[in-house]
Amino acid sequence: MTLELPVDLLFGLNLDLNLDLTKVMTANAIVLPVVLPLLAAFLMQPLAQVSRTLARLLGPLVLALGAWIILNAWLDVGPAPFSVAIGGFAAPLGIVFYADQLALLFALAVQVFTLLFWPGLGAAAKADAAADRQRAPRRDALALLLASAATGLALSGDLFNIFIFYELAAVASFGLVCADGSGRARIATLRYLFVSAFGSVLALVGIAILYLQTGTLNLAQLAQVAPETLQGPIGLAAFALLLIGFGVKAELFPLNAWVPEVYATAPARVSALLAGLVSKLAILVIVRLLILVFQQPEASQLLLVLGVLGVLTGEFSAWRAQDFPRLLAFSSIGQLGLVAIAFSIDGTTGILAGTAVALHHLIIKSALFGLANRWSGGLDALTGAAKGAPRAAGLFVLFALSLVGVPPLWGFWIKLLIMVGLVQGGSPLDLLALGAILLATAVEAHYLFRVALRLYQPPVQDQASRLAPPARWDTGVAYLLGACLVVISVAITPATEALRVLAQQTGDVLLYIDTVFPQPLAYKE
């Protein structure tokens, strides 16, 4: 029994066969961060009947284990990418997980951030403890489903598999958004559901076109056959459909009307997860498709145009927003437009800048939504909040400065990278994007500093008592993320070099194909 298992798994792993078994096991264990949360999610409800404490601990434990497994895989098997064939069925027929540094980085981020923004951690609503105890297992199960699906999105190397994880993430997020049971959250969920489901329909049509043209949905095989079969308008149409479809979760331009409503009504930690994590993973899927399958310049230009529209609409709407969650939501649309612009730049520079701005936004926007947990009111109500919560207000200023891009902070280097990349591109469209970013930065600075100013104004008499400082757990998380930001800003050179290695690995199409198919496999109908 014990002998059979590793040998069986060995066939599923496309590594050099002279690797020792422990490494193979470590690599194969990369499946567990997807599988274990799924299992735990379904065990949650029966377990809650037996022991509530155990059910409460199950989610964080599973996530911590997942993070440990991913770290192990990174340190032992990496930095070279590796792929795992699920169930031992080799690549073109079976489903593969492809783990390069980018995938592992985002898979790790999923575990860590879901843990940090775990709905049941810290000061859970004590006011209605009984109702909360009723709801907690269901909510935890949904959060675990979201973590599992998001990890799958980062790792999967098969387009249809990605589609299924995307749908799973969507369903889990619908549940999480209306978990507190208010009427307005349900309306927002319903509107979100319609938009998201129609986006999935478009993505499915795109997948059908891809399959019609190529006869495969394995990303590595698509990368092999794409240069001959997906040039021209049909390939571009497929990309446009997939872009708009997956762009729903990535908050890209046409289908992002759900963003402000959902973030204004959902619990703040759920907003943090959706805005920080899930949007990045949807972007990751689009980027993989762009790098591997759709290499024509028109595809990048389409992404660039959607990004510019997102930046402009998002930042101007944020400027007009009157309450804190919706300000953050619109600003998130703008930032994700910036991510799209960065990824549309050619070559390693684009991937480097895109990954950096995605990570930057992941850290900052999650922390800000964490702070918004108690500051969910209108902007006027924030007047003088710095008096009650000086540390939280200080952190807000730090994050705002980095979002705008004030020099010593990481945000500045990222914006510089994007602008240099756009200038090197040099086409009129690139320069238009450059102008849009500069304009958006000015707008962003205005509305963020307006909030910062309001925080430090003397409090209005009757409002001083109403504003509670953010919960201790949320402030702690914000501290941690703020510390990350400062560390990266100080160690900007090594951090950028590490990201550059990662970007080179991500942009290497041949490496992807060779990793998934160790011997060059010719595909025949």
Binding site: R184, L202, L204, V205, A381
Partner: protein, 163 residues
Amino acid sequence: MIPLTLETVSYAGAVGLVVIGGLGLVICNHLFRMLLALVMAESGANLLLVLTGFRGGAIAPIIGYGPAGAPMVDPLPQVLVLTAIVIGVGVQALAVAVLVRVYRTYGILDMRELRRRMEGEIAVAAGIAAPGSAQVPLGQRPLPPVPDYELVRRSAPVRERGA
């Protein structure tokens, strides 16, 4: 001129269903009709997916069924479409569940009205002025307070609009 074969008609039908569904989602304001439009769009996408494996005159992809060596249709899209149908049904069921809860809370299924109420409730919860319309711009005037919908619903059953 594209030849009018079974295949072209089916492809056109599938894409047409997606387009009709999309238009329905945009045009309809009644939530249940929007749901039906979504169902239609999903059927179109599923039909398109299953069509990608279609070969004219081919047999079902079962070994030992039909003459040996006869061309078979591609089985992979059929498997994919089964998965897609199951996912679609799941999402639709979830939509119906949320829709029923919304109807029990507000007593209406009109999307525009529900959206207005949601905006109002968000504004009340955040303590800011309710968003105005294009005809009634925001200003310094004292705006009428947004009514408490729980109270309104209890005092007078709201008649359904836009059904």
